[in-house]
C-alpha cells in the first residue's frame, strides 16, 4: 500500500517533468515555423534587382524595395541621433543621483513610457509634429520611434553604471578630475559595452515597429530622402502590401519580411554576443 503511494508520487513527479519539457519544446516550434516559412517564401525573391529597384505598379512583374530600405535606414538613423545621447544622459543622471526626488519621478516616467502601446506614441507624434508641420513626414516617424527607444537605453545605461564599483569614481575624483570628465572619460568608457548593447537592442526593437509610423512617416511609393516628406519604411511596406489583394505585392512583402527578419535577428544575436563577450548583465 505504502509502496504504491510512493510510486504514484514519483510517477506524478516524472509526469510533470515530462509535461514541462513537452510544453517548453512546443514553445519553440511556432518560432521555427515562422522563421522557416518566411525565409522559404522570401529568400527566392531577394536579388540585386530587388534591393536596388522601386516597387512596380500592380500588374507588372518585378520591382524592388529600394525606397523602403533607404527610408528605414534614414528614419532609424534620425531616431537614434535624437534618442541615444538623450537616453544615455538620462541614464547617467539616474545612476549618479539615486535618491533625489527628480530621479524618482524620472524613473517612474521611464517605467510608464516603457508600457505605453506603440500606437499611442504614433498619435502623440501626429499631434506634436504632423499637424504643426502640415503633413506626414519621416521626421515625425523618427520622433515617435525615438520616444520608443528611450526607456530601453535609459534602463540599460542606468543598470550598467550602477554595477560599476564606487572606488572607480572616487579614484578619478581623487586625481582632481572635474565631474564631467570623470563621467565621460572614466565611468562611461567602463560601461560602454552595456550601454552599446542597450542601444542595439533598442534599434532592433524599433526596426520592426509599424504602428507609430502609420500616421507619421505614412509611406511613399517613390524613393525619398527628404525627412520633411512622407517616407516608406520596411515594416510599413510589409503591412501595406501584405494586406493588399495582389499577388505581385505579396511577393514583394515576402522578400521585405525576409530582409527585415534577418536584419532584426542579426542585431539581436550580435547584441547577445557583445553582452557575453564583456560579461554585461542586463
Amino acid at each position: 500500500m505504502n509502496n504504491t503511494l510512493v510510486k504514484y508520487r514519483i510517477g506524478k513527479s516524472i509526469g510533470f517533468q515530462a509535461l514541462t519539457i513537452l510544453l517548453s519544446v512546443a514553445c519553440v516550434l511556432p518560432l521555427i515555423f515562422i522563421l522557416v516559412y518566411i525565409i522559404q517564401a522570401g529568400i527566392t525573391k531577394i536579388n540585386w534587382h530587388f534591393i536596388t529597384n522601386l516597387p512596380k505598379p500592380v500588374g507588372e512583374i518585378g520591382g524592388g524595395i529600394a525606397n523602403a530600405l533607404v527610408g528605414s535606414i534614414i528614419i532609424i538613423a534620425c531616431a537614434s541621433l535624437m534618442a541615444v545621447p538623450f537616453g544615455i544622459l538620462c541614464g547617467i543622471y539616474l545612476s549618479e543621483n539615486k535618491t533625489s526626488k527628480l530621479a524618482y519621478w524620472s524613473r517612474l516616467c521611464v517605467d510608464i513610457l516603457q508600457g505605453v502601446p506603440s500606437i499611442v506614441i504614433g498619435i502623440i507624434a501626429y499631434f506634436w509634429l504632423v499637424k504643426p508641420l502640415g503633413g506626414f513626414s519621416a521626421l515625425s516617424g523618427s520622433v515617435a520611434l525615438g520616444i520608443m527607444m528611450l526607456p530601453i537605453i535609459v534602463r540599460s545605461t542606468e543598470e550598467t553604471l550602477k554595477l560599476l564599483p564606487d572606488t572607480l569614481r572616487e579614484a578619478a575624483f581623487a586625481l582632481g578630475l572635474p565631474f564631467h570628465r570623470v563621467i565621460l572619460k572614466v565611468i562611461v568608457p567602463c560601461g560602454i559595452s552595456g550601454i552599446l548593447s542597450g542601444v542595439m537592442l533598442s534599434i532592433a526593437r524599433i526596426t520592426g515597429e509599424t504602428a507609430p509610423l502609420l500616421f507619421t512617416a505614412f509611406g511613399n511609393p517613390y524613393l525619398s530622402t527628404n525627412v520633411l516628406k512622407p517616407m516608406q519604411s520596411l515594416p510599413l511596406l510589409i503591412f501595406n502590401y501584405a494586406t493588399s489583394p495582389y499577388n505581385e505585392w505579396h511577393d514583394l512583402a515576402w522578400g521585405a519580411s525576409c530582409i527585415l527578419l534577418i536584419w532584426v535577428l542579426l542585431l539581436n544575436i550580435f547584441t547577445k554576443l557583445i553582452t557575453r563577450k564583456w560579461k554585461v548583465q542586463l
Binding site: 508520487r9 506524478k12 513527479s13 510533470f16 517533468q17 509535461l19 514541462t20 519539457i21 510544453l23 517548453s24 512546443a26 514553445c27 519553440v28 511556432p30 518560432l31 515562422i34 516559412y37 538623450f86 544622459l89 538620462c90 547617467i92 543622471y93 539616474l94 527628480l102 530621479a103 524620472s106 516616467c109 521611464v110 510608464i112 513610457l113 508600457g115 505605453v116 502601446p117 506603440s118 500606437i119 499611442v120 498619435i123 499631434f127 506634436w128 528611450l150 586625481l175 572635474p178 565631474f179 564631467h180 563621467i183 532592433a204 509599424t210 504602428a211 502609420l214 500616421f215 515594416p235 510589409i238 503591412f239 501584405a242 494586406t243 527585415l260 527578419l261 532584426v264 535577428l265 539581436n268
Partner: protein
C-alpha cells in the same frame, strides 16, 4: 583643451618639487594665470554638465506629462459629446456620429485574455524548465535564447505569417466545427498574440524561480517531497507574486499590440457574436481609422480610445513593476 590638462597633470609635480623654478618669474606668472583660467573653464564645464543632466531628467518627466496632457486635451471634444456613455455605447457609427466603444472593449478583453490563457501554461513551463529543472547547460541556453527571439520578431511579420498560414488553418477548423468559415477573427488573433507574449512571463518566471533560496527546497526534499511536490508547495507559493507580475506584463503587451492583431482580426465594428467572429480591438481601430477620420469628433473619439488604452496598459504595467520590486526587496 583636453591635451593641455593632461600636460598640466604631468608637469604639476615638477612645479611643486621646484625643478622648473629655473625658468623666469614672468613665465611662472603666465602659467599661473593660465591655470586659473583653465580651472575656471573646468568649473564652468562641470556646472554646464550637471545642469544638462538635470535638464535631461526633467525633460523625461515633461515628455511623459506632455503625452498624457496631449491625449486628454485632444479627447475633450469626444468626452463632451458622449460623456461616460462612450465606454458602453454598443454602436460605433462614424457616419452618424455615434461613438460607443463597447465592441472594441469586448474585442480587446477577449483577445488578450484568451491569449493569456493559452500562453500561461507554456510560459510557466519554460520558466520552470529553465529555472528549476535545467538551469545550466547548452540545451537550456538554446531554449532561453530562442524564447527571447520570439519577442524580437517584428509584430508585422507575425501578422503576415498569420494571414498566410494561420488563417487558412483556422478556416479549415471552423468548417469542421460548423461556424462561419471566415478565418479572420478573434480566435486567430488570440493564437498569434499567445505566441507573441510567451517570452515576457517566461523570462520573468525563470529569474524569479532561480531566486528561491535553496535551503527551502532542501528542507522540503529532506522531508521526503518529490520534485513535483517541491515545485508545487515551495517554489510556486514562494514566487507567486513574481509569476503574477509576469502575467501582468504579458497582459500589458497583449492589450497594446497593434499590427499583428489588426492584420488578422477582420476589422468590423459589430459586437462579436462568438470567439470565432471577426471583431476589432482598441489598438486596431486606431490603426485602421485614424487617417480616415475626417471630422474633429471622430478623430477625438479615436484619441479617447487611445487614452483609455494608455491608462489601462500603464496601470497594468505599474502593478507588474511594483510586484517585481516588492519581490526583489524581500
Amino acid at each position: 583643451m583636453e591635451t593641455s590638462v593632461d600636460n598640466d597633470l604631468i608637469t604639476r609635480p615638477d612645479l611643486t618639487t621646484g625643478r622648473v623654478i629655473a625658468s623666469t618669474k614672468i613665465q611662472e606668472d603666465v602659467k599661473g594665470i593660465k591655470r586659473v583660467k583653465r580651472s575656471h573653464r573646468q568649473i564652468r564645464a562641470e556646472n554646464v554638465f550637471r545642469r544638462t543632466l538635470v535638464i535631461v531628467a526633467l525633460t523625461m518627466v515633461v515628455l511623459v506629462l506632455g503625452i498624457m496632457l496631449t491625449l486628454v486635451v485632444q479627447s475633450i471634444p469626444s468626452i463632451k459629446s458622449a460623456g461616460l456613455g462612450f465606454l458602453w455605447g454598443k454602436t460605433w457609427d462614424p457616419v452618424k456620429d455615434v461613438f460607443g466603444v463597447y465592441p472594441f472593449l469586448l474585442g480587446t478583453i477577449l483577445t488578450s485574455f484568451m491569449a493569456l490563457i493559452i500562453s500561461i501554461p507554456f510560459s510557466f513551463a519554460v520558466g520552470i524548465f529553465l529555472g528549476e529543472y535545467y538551469p545550466k547547460g547548452w540545451v537550456s541556453n538554446i531554449l532561453k535564447n530562442t524564447v527571447e527571439l520570439i519577442a524580437a520578431v517584428p509584430s508585422v511579420i507575425y501578422g503576415f505569417w498569420g494571414l498566410a498560414v494561420l488563417v487558412p488553418l483556422v478556416r479549415g477548423f471552423e468548417t469542421k466545427i460548423g461556424v462561419d468559415p471566415v478565418g479572420l477573427g478573434i480566435f486567430t488573433s488570440s493564437l498569434i498574440l499567445a505566441v507573441m507574449i510567451i517570452p515576457y512571463a517566461a523570462s520573468l518566471g525563470r529569474s524569479m524561480i532561480q531566486m528561491v533560496p535553496s535551503n527551502l527546497k532542501e528542507a522540503a526534499y529532506s522531508l521526503g517531497a518529490t520534485r513535483w511536490e517541491v515545485i508545487r508547495s515551495v517554489i510556486l507559493p514562494y514566487t507567486r507574486s513574481g509569476l503574477f507580475a509576469g502575467i501582468m506584463l504579458s497582459l500589458g503587451r497583449a492589450l497594446g499590440e497593434t499590427m499583428a492583431v489588426t492584420m488578422v482580426i477582420g476589422n468590423t465594428s459589430l459586437i462579436p457574436k462568438n470567439i470565432f467572429s471577426p471583431g476589432n480591438t482598441m489598438a486596431s481601430v486606431i490603426a485602421n481609422e485614424f487617417t480616415e477620420a475626417d471630422h474633429p469628433v471622430y478623430l477625438s473619439a479615436l484619441i479617447e480610445l487611445g487614452l483609455v488604452l494608455f491608462v489601462v496598459t500603464v496601470v497594468i504595467n505599474m502593478i507588474g513593476k511594483r510586484l517585481i520590486k516588492g519581490f526583489s526587496n524581500e
